[in-house]
Symmetry: C2
Subunit: 390 residues, 2 copies
């Protein structure tokens, strides 16, 4: 059954080698006071920082900065940014970096004029957005989270040891995003691979739910196929423009709501990884990869037809004359092979987790699951299998 | 090679059985004076007209009407609507119907405050939009053109005997569109089939260009597969909600720019059909079907690899140990079989064309073609083959 849905995504995308040249035109719709948000210096090493500053200055903008945003952006960083926005009456928050930087910018946007504590209101109690937001825009340097074209912000509250995702209304989407695949060339291979698995996981979290005949599933199969094919090229040739541009666009399309319309969706792998990330600070996609294999092995019998479809259509597993469960299981084996191809670790040990952390992580995971509601004990079992994996 | 692109589609979609219930909320963003645009009465027969009028009135709106819009909307109809917009200071043009009605509403939107002749300026000379536009919204009753989520308007100038398509900037996109698949249940089978081929043609016009590895092509393959599968269900069971909702969403996704990003595109089948439509007033999709078969037979050798991919991935043609040209040709044969499944005519004779019309149609077709630029003589040859087809 196709569920009713509302779809609205107002982000304007400038994509390609010439994308950056649109920045002055895109900026002209906003006032002069810009808060530049970026991470720990990668954009300086590739010369992008200088380019952005020169362009902003040529456009007559007044630039303020929040730098040093963490890979898992912290609520304290959000509060620092929100203070600058209020004090300097910022007109546009321009995030330059990967998904964490853009998430941080969105969180600053909603927190700046929030009455009371934004964390409690919007991430804990999930209350509807009620205050004015400050426009956000982005210049993307890493493909993965898809934050460049959605209204989600994942923030870590280090005081509480919790990482929470929140989807806001469309007005929190970046007003524009600049996507030049060449900006991703210098991303280290491990980060690139982590980003690739993040993209694939976004698709699988939406795909592994329901058993109906739904256009969205065909779109996701197309994206998964394109992503896997281009990833194999990019692993061999990191500066292959065609491959990197397909990966970048797959990342955006995988989680800009185009494919999730009418789907019930799962997101339990992400729920587990967010708590793992809060404890270990591991690369998000690497965490997802290590959790996905045991997680899907636990649930595939509850969504058997869909896992068979995945095995045959995404990994070309032959179903002829075979037991569906063994076809589905082989699909997950192929997914595991892909994790190995990406040189991502299969075990949580290699991601900085300790055996002692596992029960604490399981305690804070939000329980859910599309095919079957998982208990805290099952989550712990999955974490233990992910820990012991070889 | 992926070409650089800009993507921006601001239309808000309300989809499903409950979609109509969002109308009051959607209308609240606009002023009180509404111009209702609709066709020749189908919306009255299904009770939708009364429902819309009651809702508008309950929302305190002042309603003006332009009714009787033709299946190939005429420029004279556009001018009548534009006059009402100016005289009554219309705040929102609400199109209720299929693609022609929505196209007409967009054309009224750009023509109302145009200085000078809008046809000449925007459809003939293709000048950039320079005047204010009036917001447009739609309630869709037929799946096919995709006009509900794009900025295109195809208008026929009957005085000049020319049908022209024009894509405007994103501000001409409907601000919102209400898509309830149940509203399409009463569309006669021939119109449904015509709409289905229109959707498929939109995808093929984008797909049959370039030979690179491009994410957009995988998305289009997903849409083609989903469309063909659901069409077969809907032909047997016109009130199968799952099938009709997939068809409706495929129609929107096929031409809302999501799949065309970075593609060079063809659109020559549409260019030929537009002139055929100006002479015969035949159903658009039916015209496309009759032209597509000879057109693709003429050009497939110039885009052989792509036509082989189409044959194998969309129609499951086996390529093993075979000459690529024969695989590609078999794919076009399967496409012809699908036209027959849809009970659409293969010959232009059955669409009201006469042998005498063909050279005149060829004279007015805008020449183009993605793989190879076609001459007027080739267009005439294709028209003659389409005329003689059995």
């Amino acid at each position: 059954m196709l569920n009713d849905f509302t779809f609205h995504n107002p982000t304007k995308i400038y994509f390609g080698r010439t994308a950056f040249s649109h920045l002055p035109e895109a900026l002209s719709a906003f006032g002069p006071r810009i808060l530049l948000v970026y991470g720990k210096g990668a954009i300086k090493r590739i010369g992008l920082y200088d380019l952005v500053i020169r362009t902003l200055s040529a456009c007559g903008k007044e630039v303020y900065e929040l730098s040093g945003v963490s890979p898992n952006p912290r609520y304290t960083e959000v509060l620092s940014g929100a203070e600058i926005v209020r004090e300097k009456k910022i007109d546009l928050i321009l995030a330059v970096g990967g998904g964490s930087v853009i998430d941080c910018a969105k969180a600053i946007s909603v927190a700046a004029y929030c009455e009371g504590d934004a964390w409690q209101k919007y991430w804990e109690e999930l209350r509807p957005l009620e205050n004015e937001v400050v426009p956000v825009a982005s210049i993307l340097t890493m493909a993965g989270t898809g934050s460049e074209m959605n209204a989600c912000a994942v923030i870590t509250n280090e005081a509480e040891g919790i990482k929470e995702a929140r989807e806001f209304p469309p007005e929190v989407c970046p007003r524009f995003s600049i996507l030049n695949p060449e900006f991703t060339y210098t991303v280290p291979k491990y980060q690139m691979a982590s980003g690739i698995f993040d993209i694939l996981s976004h698709l699988m979290e939406q795909y592994f739910s329901d058993e109906d005949d739904n256009t969205s599933d065909y779109l996701m199969e197309g994206l998964m196929e394109s992503l896997i094919r281009s990833s194999r090229v990019a692993l061999r040739e990191p500066t292959n423009y065609e491959a990197r541009s397909n990966i970048m666009w797959c990342a955006t399309m995988a989680i800009n709501s185009v494919t999730s319309v009418s789907k019930t969706q799962d997101w339990e792998v992400h729920a587990i990884e967010h708590q793992l990330g809060a404890y270990t600070d591991c690369a998000h996609g690497a965490g997802l990869a290590a959790i996905s294999i045991p997680y899907y092995r636990h649930i595939f019998r509850d969504g058997l037809a869909r896992f068979v479809r995945f095995a045959t259509r995404i990994f070309g597993v032959s179903a002829e004359g075979r037991d569906p469960a063994s076809v589905a299981a082989e699909g997950i084996d192929r997914l595991r092979d892909f994790v190995i191809e990406l040189s991502l670790p299969l075990s949580l040990r290699d991601l900085g987790a300790t055996k002692e952390m596992l029960p604490r992580i399981a305690d804070t995971v939000e329980l859910g699951g599309a095919y079957r509601f998982l208990s805290r004990e099952e989550i712990l079992m999955i974490l233990q299998e992910a820990y012991d994996a070889k």
